[in-house]
């Protein structure tokens, strides 16, 4: 089942041109093709597009689909330039292959990076089909045009379907440069197209790595260390081997794996293992981290991220100085599909199939771990039940491969939710000390951010309000820890925005300025009298602030118990501004409505884009309200959804209204940018509602 897509296309001899990932060149006359196949000639001017003689157009979706919608949006771009009707095309997930360029789900980069190359791929096929028709009719190419899967002769009105032209087009040289469509002629880009897999999703068809079922496959579950800092010392599998269905117990990748004929048997076998763990390094606790943050955020960094003017000199003058400390917890990724991977490792080859955001690196790391050449390893990509950055790590696939190699069997690795939550690469918690000086004429004279985090960066040096404040400094610190941390949806922005945008609101109130008017005033300063580098596009920033103010009828005509809060952020080349509305019903607070304005360049799929923004907002809100991971001597306290809490419908806003700033600019990132500003927008709304400033996440509003 898994290899089918690949093998069906093996006869397509497609060569890649170095650089850019854009593939041109074809030779459908493979040695393996029979005469009959030639009659059913396939036109495939590049890896992304195949047209057979019956006119079936198959488009390849090159990037991992983790719920961000690229399996729909990228083929839409191909279909647009190819001039075919969307509802006539078939979309297939591409296998891992260099001819598809960079196959990564991360950094909100798929549409951003591929928009032009993919348009060219589609346009190339269209131009060649027009050439084929023109030659057949003996007319000039300019006398023909392509529409809805046909080439049409302008003079005679005659039509030839793409299928009828496929064989001829396949004999033509691939043009090096082709004209792209005028965006005003777009029929698919910018429209509402539904998730390509909707039908399969709503009928429960197998789509995910977790659904992999292969002959002879064993389910594997692993005994993992109960805390960071611990490693396996010894184990006794006597009881495990008595469990019906358990077939094998192996040691691989530093863990003990139980292999069985069902998930339940594997779990019972795993739970029956008697394990002895030893301390390799000290177990750390959240209280220790907090204590270290507290001392670090009052310490200057040797290498500050940005220094404009002299904040200390301003603070020393003794004018009005405002300080606030913000705290953010560690978070788990908790994709709804827990980690898993299928591996079938043979003597000198391997087949891998499973959820990963980095298929190419996954194959490299598996090859290294198995000592098998990459060329002998295939890797297929299922639809994924969420990513959020967890699957930027290769541990799930490497572990499955090593266990399959050790057990000499095809293996479906299963992580329980508890395994997943205790074996994460966490979003690092952070603490910030924010300090600002307000001048006698009621302007921000100095701004100092000092942040510390469990791992990775805790600030982006040039973020707004940098360039609008004469004295500006950013210091950051990172702890050394044996707890794994890693990218989590909108890395760094997802922590620092809470501090930046909450503090901005505090200053606005302190200065008795409207929070939105205050931002616009600072943007004017950055435009007219910039201090140092301006790290954002002032007009684009302003576009979302103004649009969301208009959408939300900011500050006007609110019911008596409804309060608004504002926050914005520029990340992944996209601008996002939110207004959150909090309703106070007899002292019970609920976020009831969100308005969101986004400037992400041209929108490819309006339905998918709105879904990403709505989703990022609700995802960010869910974590801001409820979620935290804490450690006790290296052990994770929150092991499942009973203690690591998520939003349910009763906590979700009734409305999440999204608008995109109309623009002709090239598309920018969208999977992440709407997440960072939601927590501060809500904190600011809660302040408006209650006069209480929530400076620590999660809010845990229910708690007195």
């Amino acid at each position: 089942m898994i290899g089918e897509t690949v093998s069906r296309r093996n006869f397509l001899k497609i060569t890649s041109i170095a650089g850019g990932g854009m593939l041109i060149g074809f030779n459908f006359l493979s040695d393996n093709l029979s005469a009959a196949s030639v009659a059913d000639a396939v036109f495939s001017p590049n890896a992304y597009i195949t047209i057979n003689s019956s006119g079936l157009v198959t488009l390849m979706a090159p990037n991992p689909e983790i719920g961000q919608g690229v399996k729909t949006a990228l083929p839409m771009i191909l279909a647009e330039e190819l001039n075919v009707k969307w509802d006539t095309v078939e979309v297939d997930m591409a296998p891992l292959d260099p001819k598809f360029g960079s196959q990564v789900a991360g950094g909100s980069g798929a549409i951003r990076g591929r928009f032009m190359p993919i348009r060219k791929a589609g346009a190339t096929a269209r131009v060649m089909l027009i050439s084929a028709a023109a030659q057949q009719w003996g007319v000039a190419e300019t006398d023909c045009y392509a529409e809805d899967g046909f080439v049409i002769n302008k003079a005679s009105g005659k039509k030839l379907g793409y299928g009828e032209l496929a064989a001829k087009a396949a004999t033509l040289p691939v043009p090096a440069d082709v004209a792209l469509k005028d965006p005003k002629d777009f029929k698919i880009i910018g429209t509402r197209v539904h998730n390509i897999d909707n039908k399969k999703i709503i009928t429960g068809q197998p789509l995910y790595g977790m659904d992999t079922r292969r002959p002879g496959m064993l389910y594997a579950m692993v005994a993992r260390p109960p805390a960071f800092g611990k490693a396996i010392k010894s184990f006794d599998d006597t009881e495990t081997r008595k469990v019906a269905g358990v077939k094998n117990v192996v040691m691989a990748h530093g863990v003990v794996a139980v292999l069985a004929t069902s998930t339940w048997a594997a779990k019972k076998g795993r739970d029956a293992l008697v394990t002895v763990w030893e301390d390799k390094s000290p177990g750390e606790s959240t209280a220790d981290h907090d204590a270290q943050y507290t001392s670090l955020i009052i310490t200057k960094s040797d290498r500050p991220g940005r220094v404009d003017g002299d904040v200390d000199a301003v603070f020393a003058k003794g004018g009005k100085v405002i300080e606030a400390v913000y705290e953010l917890p560690n978070l788990a990724h908790s994709a709804m599909e827990p980690l898993n991977f299928f591996a079938d490792v043979k003597e000198n080859s391997a087949e891998l199939y499973g959820p990963t955001q980095i298929p190419a690196r996954m194959r490299q790391e598996v090859a290294k771990a198995l000592n098998i050449p990459e060329a002998n390893i295939t890797l297929g990509m299922p639809r994924q039940g969420g990513g959020f950055g967890r699957k930027l790590q290769a541990d799930n696939g490497v572990e499955a491969a090593l266990i399959s190699q050790a057990a000499k069997a095809p293996v479906q690795m299963m992580w329980t939710r508890e395994d997943d939550m205790q074996g994460d690469y966490y979003r690092a918690g952070a603490m910030y000390k924010m300090k600002a000086a307000i001048s006698a004429d009621n302007q921000i004279e100095a701004w100092h951010l000092n942040g510390a985090s469990l791992g990775g960066g805790s600030a982006m040096a040039d973020s707004f309000p940098a360039a609008s404040v004469p004295n500006f400094r950013v210091d950051t610190h990172s702890l050394h820890s044996n707890i794994q941390t890693g990218p989590w949806r909108a890395p760094t922005s997802n922590i620092v925005t809470f501090a930046d945008e909450s503090f901005m609101d505090e200053l606005a109130h302190e200065m008795k300025k409207d929070p939105i008017a205050f931002r616009l005033e600072l943007l004017d300063k950055a435009a007219n009298t910039p201090v140092g580098k301006v790290g954002y596009d002032i007009n684009k920033y302003r576009s979302v602030v103004e649009l969301v103010a208009k959408m939300s009828n900011w500050g006007k005509g609110l019911p008596k118990n409804v309060y608004q809060g504002f926050a914005a952020r520029f990340s992944f080349s996209t601008y996002a501004a939110h207004v959150a509305e909090v309703t106070n019903t007899n002292g019970v607070l609920r976020v009831t409505k969100i308005y969101s304005a986004i400037n992400c360049g041209r929108v490819v799929n309006l339905s998918g884009a709105e879904n990403q923004v709505q989703g990022a907002i609700l995802d960010g809100l869910s974590h801001a309200l409820f979620s935290k991971i804490t450690f006790d001597k290296g052990a994770v306290n929150e092991k499942n959804f009973n203690t690591y809490k998520f939003m349910r419908q009763k906590d979700a806003p009734i409305e999440v209204l999204v608008q995109f700033v109309p623009t002709e600019d090239a598309p920018t990132g969208l999977g992440e940018p709407a997440l960072p500003p939601i927590a501060p927008a809500v904190a600011n709304a809660i302040f408006a509602a209650t006069g209480k400033r929530y400076r620590k996440l999660p809010f845990e509003l229910g708690k007195a």
Binding site: G204, P206, M210, R648
Partner: protein
């Protein structure tokens, strides 16, 4: 190990499993009905929601031995062509992102609409308790209202 004959999607199916095996794993591993998803194993997230005799249950905490003669309905059996009004509403609202939790969400919504054919937002708040990490809550709420409209003649709303 014990032998069970289960009614799943209106078909009699035989399985041999330990009596404490959750129905979830019997469906997924023994019967190859993988539309019912594993998310937490402790009846928190609802990804494993199926119906037994028309009521929504979380199959990860429902031992196979307890099913007895109960009629089990999974997402695969909800309608032969994927055209149950709730499924159609999900498609029309373009609800899914990653999609992993949506089978369970749909089964929960179908059960909700049985007891509340014209649900208020308050009803949805109380009865839709499944987790979605992608944040499709807003579209789910709209899809449930849409499905209610599809299923209930206008007169019923009076």
């Amino acid at each position: 190990m014990a032998k069970y004959t289960l009614s799943v999607n209106n078909k009699a199916m035989s399985v041999e499993a330990d009596e404490d095996t959750p129905l979830l794993w019997v469906l997924r591993d023994h019967l190859n009905l993988v539309g019912t998803k594993y998310g937490c194993g402790i009846a928190q997230c609802g990804a494993c929601t199926v119906h037994i005799n028309g009521a929504a249950v979380r199959s990860c905490q429902y031992p196979v031995a307890a099913v007895g003669a109960g009629k089990v309905l999974t997402i695969e059996g909800l309608s032969p062509t994927g055209t149950h009004p709730v499924q159609l509403a999900w498609e029309e609202m373009d609800v899914p992102q990653c999609g992993y939790c949506q089978g369970g969400q749909i089964m929960a919504a179908v059960a909700l609409l049985k007891t509340h054919p014209n649900p208020t937002d308050d009803d949805i708040d109380k009865l839709m308790t499944n987790i979605c990490r992608c944040g499709t809550h807003y579209r789910i709420r709209k899809a449930i209202h849409l499905a209610a409209g599809k299923m209930t003649p206008k007169a019923a709303k009076v």
